[in-house]
Symmetry: C2
Subunit: 164 residues, 2 copies
């Protein structure tokens, strides 16, 4: 660690690893369950596992425009998994399809993240105005990605309570 550039890259690497580890843990959890098990409640009276898979997928899909990476892939997931609570909709996609969405969106995001320079990580996300960003420069892509990794962890803490 001899140059300043390397130090910036180390901070970036920490954020990237935090994101990748959260995705890996959650994916490992979902991969360990059958499609039938995905339809069960985590514990009695709480969300079904498939709902949390859809919820996490929709939240990550929303990261595309938030990070200035273009249009969303799956905007139709919002009304099923973000604005509606679980068990209020009959028309959820099958688990196999949500698994594909989950893999696709995370791969797309992660490939972008791996390509960013430290400067690109520090750009503002699109939910912040230029004016607010001037006052609060920590509201950047780096913070957003770490925040979303924490969101995965939050739901993972719930998911691990499922007993087959």
């Amino acid at each position: 660690m001899t140059t300043t550039t390397t130090q910036q890259e180390l901070f970036v690497l920490s954020g990237l690893i935090t994101w990748e580890q959260a995705i890996k843990r959650a994916t490992g959890f979902f991969d360990g369950l059958s499609d039938e098990e995905m339809g069960r409640e985590i514990v009695p009276g709480k969300n079904r596992i498939i709902y949390l898979l859809g919820h996490l997928t929709a939240v990550h899909d929303r990261m595309l425009p938030l990070l200035g990476l273009g249009e969303r892939f799956y905007p139709h997931l919002d009304e099923l998994f973000i604005t509606s609570p679980d068990k209020t909709r009959d028309n959820l996609p099958p688990a196999s399809q949500l698994r594909e969405y989950w893999t696709t969106i995370n791969l797309r995001l992660t490939n972008h993240f791996r390509s960013w320079t430290p400067e690109e990580w520090l750009q503002k996300h699109t939910a912040v105005s230029d004016e607010d960003f001037a006052k609060e420069p920590h509201r950047n892509r780096f913070s957003l990605v770490i925040n979303r990794a924490g969101h995965v962890q939050y739901h993972l803490g719930q998911l691990v309570w499922f007993k087959k």
Copy 2:
């Protein structure tokens, strides 16, 4: 954002805010409960709330030596809240005392974090050998602190399932 130093400070700020927000959310949760409520299970058959408060306190207390910040304050918590599962020990400290420990250890840690330069954030933590750190320089204090914030989020996802 004109100088490289400022960019490094922005990465540090993201990590610090991630930590502080996790602590604030968890503390807000615990503060909203009576000592009697702290003794209840989060959901039937799962950990009691007081156990998770003790667990998080013990894990944060372990951060002192891990981060090279000196001796632990509460090493006696480990056998109650880390190496023993919940409901296997009769001699837990009262909730009021654990609340104090939680506040004290987080304040101490946070004060250290606020004082660190970017270079100090990138120092290795003490669970990594010099040899491994040379190969894996991301195993630094910054990564460890973000990781522990994620650990708080993980248990917070469980705690919010408690119904008074």
